[in-house]
Symmetry: D2
Subunit: 454 residues, 4 copies
């Protein structure tokens, strides 16, 4: 694409003369991974070699190693034993990734032995290391039609050295860890332990997070399947809310720290009146609080539909459960129940005794099979993981960054968290679609619920 | 993200010592929009402002104007009349875009009059310009649940000046053209005619192509819905082929010039043995030709499943119909029928009289409603289009480029075509999944069908 | 079909010599609406006129009036005003019935005025009687694509005479009540009140029950849609249970008094290990109790999936909440929570600390749109209801009895309840499929869980 | 249910005074399996024992043997070898039936050897009889999630004695033939040959017909899945037709001799304007012919949607292809193409040059997996087939008759054909829904297309 900067210039009718009605939503916005500020521009090209021709000094700019097959590889395929495990909560696509790994290893590289460890990292403990599944192309042929994982999963940390012992005992040359936060952290420790012991074992992470909260990842695999399924439940409570006087529908969706599923599902279903996510704190009481907004909405439209990420409003829960679960995740208090009770009390007090329909469909969302898009994505991600491993990469994750498959150092995958940017364009779209105020609380912006649509 | 280049360095176990079994697929590959060559790297950051800090001279590098709301706008919303039309073939998401435009115009900018022109550009002819639909938030509230377009569509070119007359007659300030190749070309001419006449009418294109063949677009809206639906038909003929001795399943999918739907659907369904696309010519006869491969496959596995883009193998059709349709598109000969007949003759001659199951499901694919992902995408694209128009952009299309919404000069949208790169990673994934040879013909590479999986 | 008894005789190879392994399941079975005993036979023909030729004295045998159009009708269509309302819980198909009524009344009979009363019987109170919706073919054209009811619903009884006053005030000649138990009872009272006042108003019930618990009905409309959707949730918890060590999946489905949804969904999903329904009491403790069976199952297979009707095991709930809701239905205690807690305690005590996945998807099941079968069924039922009303029937419900559409006196519809027959062939199929014991408790039959399948 | 005739009497407001607008549709109707005439009544009870108490002489009335388990059985399960085969075209549910047979035989009766013959009756030829599949509960556990048949299928007749030889050679005691017309006929011949040779082999048919054209069957398994899927294609062409000026959508569905799929799918989709089935001949030309009606419809509404059974209008095809296929079925000429061409010519001649969207989705309909209802139905039918066989029944089919499972002599299953009754209530519903005339031709009844809805 030999294009000159001026080729990409867009025509403008003339000077901009009017204040935009949306201007007050824009005041704090600047360029970020989730927003391009007014006046900034998006590069046509995205690789070091492409930009070098335009004067970019290639050694000073942060960039990712491209994923993909290499002409020369590190391992002799005929002598490789690969291991695979899945850990953390379920997510659509786990079986697709397993299947893609096995297909690529066996069919294209000719790897003969592929071992599936059962129930996540637990499968690498001394006690369980021999309870494995042999993974062959035949054994995995149709597994992608089912949700879940044929290998089982679990949460929680095991001793890195005990796990390395298992790898050595089983003669593993390459280990694929398909997992989330916890799994990537464990894989990082495992890789370090392997390095300390001078072993030539490649550890490759395939990051999994239904919440889409891992960094350096366009959208995590399974995310699209998950939010698509979640829309069904928003529609369900919207139908319920519409069928009862003062109907209130509440759906609690996944999202401990990041409200992506809630945001995308709400945009797709287009039936949500309020979206609450962990990134945007909210206040219940007061004239600008959530309850007053709910009341105004029910009074005006006869109903309200609320989509809630499980991690939203945690500060509101007096008993906010600081205990950690086996994987070291904070346990969340149940914001759904709190809202249900608060809204019932508030609306009843306001003479609008509601019919509340509350559902938490998480298991029914995360256990589905991958949709067509995620099937392709998982397959290609698995191929990339195999190429990385066979080429001798280690302590690396495969990821998709702005539609390119890349290698990311494992430790980086847990160094930060992907979240909905309150100043990004996704959240702006949510606000535009729900017409909810930018914030619920004393400082919130002017009410923008308008007649007819929102 | 303050990351240094070395932070993104991935660890390598050691020197790469073995030739990869995939090496011969890699010989010709170099960095392109569809591939990142070995050794090249993908930039972490993607905007001019982000890269400027790393020494990129911003005025010399091709880049897109970011889409999104502006603080100051060109039109006074209270006095704006907007027009909307859809043209070209059906595509999932048309109604979602219409709905998103109306919602954003009416609710957020407060535009009062939105006119829908019927049946595409035909609606801008003098004869039909008054046969319009009034578009209000109420009228479009639920239209996204249905496929097709509430405005109707048509193909074919109208006189640009007659169309400008209609816009003037109807007092249109902003025209949104949701259309494909033909529509974008017409919008370009229309914009030029408006410019020549010194009118202050903004023309904004929302590019639509179920084939995903428009440039500067990650994936066109409706594409994911379409290929997901297409997988059902691959599965259908795969089931049929498996249930009959010498079963041959053939699905002809959309794709006049670009085999994206065929490729993605084949990857998602994972039941295709052969994928044929316009970008990769193939030979029928000879030991390395398609028919011999089909025969070998049927002999080995008892069946074969072929996914075919409608534009594949056009050179093979003696009567290749060079007539153009009303939009100026080349008419394609029916490669599906040719294959059906050739394969029947060949296999019968080889003593493998086949049961052929051939289906062309195009209408059933393109007429569905948008899935959850495309629903969100269409909504955000529509919002971007409205922001562009209200800000006074014109002769521009809105597009998504590496996950950023951008403005692209309209004329560029038809200046080139997005195609499956035979050296890109998508096609590589197809080859890895189907195990078909890289080419059917004399020069094709060694057979890679292996036992057990492919 | 002129067939003689001997034409229908089936050939038998010879004398039956062996005891069936299933014999002990058969001991108590006799002919009933849900079972045909060994030796009994099913009639080829099913109408009075058909059987009269075979010597059946037609006036002594219980039979239903056939539904359908009549050559002569009672009302002058040109002067008829019809009313429609929906009451009770949501059920797939409500909008289809509304639509079918309006279509048949308006298009085929030419009725001009059709009034929709809002929010069930509440809409017939003096306070709300004027808050109505005008129902025209145009207004209802696409409503069947959505679940719920465009008329709204509510529970609870209103004064019959006040409701008659509303009918008179609004000039209603025909009232269609689409509702459940409570609705049919209210319609019965309403019909009686009309009769007492000598009014010529027809009251026709269209029985609605997602639980399939109304009598004289093959399967209530929406039932198939509902149990089909319910299978998704059984699959979900089955996937979850399979992915965790000692995984326990529990789904609580609708079914206050009748376990049809639980039974059918379990048969369709084919992933349930235990089905618990109101008709079959069960014991938790003891060697033959539910908990011991669950423990054995988890020990043998590593997991268990339980499908539970909400009304199952109510006797086990100490606090069994005898309060009645607004419609006079008994309020049920939450057997799902009880089971969850009991199983957790029991398995933990047995050294099998479980991962429990419990979901109550009721709102997500009952709010869906009707599937294809129910769409046809609702349409035909609505047509039958209109024919009945126009012919002057009153205090009648339309129903489908052994695949014939019939009229049933309204009072009969609430005189008994359709339940799963513990001695019927449906429950036998459930036992055959789950391999659960016929009963959980001291007297239960021998364990029949066998290797490999169950 | 001790109910007296008077309990079932429905109240009537008074004398019927007006001629029904529908009266002329009723003139020829009388009681049949598809209609209950005005004045006739439907029996509450349906078995010989139940009716005996009401004076029905049980030995003179045609009745079916009830299906179900028997206390005493003919075969010793420990020594039984069962065979299974599927023949004829694909139909949703084949794998469910196979799975249900294997489950019941192995788990409940303890049968050890179950042999699957491949590719239908071809699998019983001397040449192929050893190419079998061993069917175990494990092997069939998940096969119901896929369409088609794991055993393969074929059409066409084999020599009965050769097939008996195969059964003897393989030691088969029980053979289950899952097939259509051709399969039931072959099974009849096979049973007769076994009888002639004095062998103790049970032959049990499980009738399969996606067209629903076999007699003594409420609805054949797979039928509901099939017509549900077919509605998608009606919706597709309806969307297409609505999006083009003078849009004409045509869907050709299965139905060689019986228009059930076309009728039910049209009722469910509710988008069809014209339904054409084999049972109702039609005329193309003339003022009352189909083409004139199509023209009127397009002129009035701008579009028309036609649903067509493949066997409709065969008399119109000059070249009506009287050759028979391998199973002895008449080959049908392509009525879809004829209609497409005739309508194009007619409308073009009338100045309404159409956009025609024609699709024949048969393979995509018949290859799907069974839906939830059919899954339950297939399972129960398979259970009934096993009970019949183990009890020593032979030359019998299992069927569902008015919701009871019964045994039907095999020869009867092919003695007549189930068709849409032009005087039955199903076709009446189609006419009411489409508003098409009762017949296309000189004698057709008055036009009933009315404003607004039809």
């Amino acid at each position: 694409m030999t294009l000159h900067p001026e080729d990409l210039r867009v025509r403008q009718l003339g000077e901009r003369r009017y204040d935009s009605p949306l201007a007050d939503l824009l005041s704090t916005k600047q360029t970020s991974p989730h927003y391009v500020a007014e006046g900034d521009r998006v590069l046509l090209e995205d690789t070091v070699s492409m930009l070098a021709g335009h004067g970019l000094p290639s050694d000073q700019v942060p960039s990712f190693e491209a994923a993909g097959p290499r002409r020369k590889i590190y391992f002799d395929p005929a002598n490789v034993t690969a291991g695979v495990l899945t850990c953390g909560g379920l997510c659509p696509g786990l079986n697709n990734v397993i299947r893609g790994l096995v297909q690529e290893l066996a069919v294209h590289y000719g790897v003969k032995r592929i071992v599936g460890f059962r129930n996540g990292l637990q499968g690498l403990t001394a006690q369980h290391r021999d309870d494995t599944v042999e993974l062959t192309p035949d054994a995995v042929r149709d597994i992608h039609t089912a949700g879940g994982t044929i290998l089982g999963s679990s949460r929680g940390g095991q001793d890195a050295d005990e796990m390395v012992d298992s790898l050595v005992a089983r003669g593993i040359d390459i280990l694929f860890v398909i997992g989330g936060d916890g799994g990537m952290r464990a894989a990082t420790f495992l890789g370090a332990a392997i390095r300390r012991r001078g072993l030539e074992i490649s550890v490759i992470g395939v990051p999994k997070t239904i919440d889409n909260d891992l960094p350096f990842t366009d959208q995590s695999f399974g995310f699209q399947s998950a939010f698509a399924r979640a829309t069904d439940f928003i529609s369900a409570v919207a139908v319920e809310a519409a069928a009862s006087p003062n109907g209130v529908g509440i759906v609690k969706l996944m999202g401990r720290h990041s409200g992506f599923i809630a945001s995308y599902a709400a945009l797709a279903a287009n039936a949500a009146d309020i979206v609450l996510i962990p990134e945007i704190p909210f206040v219940l009481g007061g004239a600008e609080g959530l309850l007053a907004h709910v009341e105004r909405h029910v009074r005006a439209k006869g109903r309200v539909v609320i989509v809630l990420a499980e991690g939203a409003g945690q500060d509101l829960l007096e008993d906010h459960g600081l205990a950690t679960d086996a994987s070291g995740n904070l346990k969340l208090g149940n914001i759904g129940e709190l809202l249900k009770d608060s809204i019932t009390a508030h609306l009843t007090g306001a003479g609008l005794a509601p019919t509340i329909r509350y559902i938490d469909p998480s298991y029914a969302v995360r256990s589905i099979a991958a949709n067509a898009y995620d099937s392709v994505y998982c397959l290609r991600l698995a191929h990339a993981a195999v190429h990385a491993a066979m080429a001798g990469c280690t302590e690396a994750a495969v990821a998709r960054w702005r539609r390119r498959f890349v290698h990311v150092p494992l430790s980086l995958m847990t160094s930060r968290r992907n979240q909905v940017d309150p100043d990004g364009d996704l959240w702006l779209s949510v606000l535009e679609t729900t017409c909810q105020p930018a914030e619920f609380g004393p400082a919130r912006q002017r009410e923008r619920v308008r007649a007819g649509f929102c």
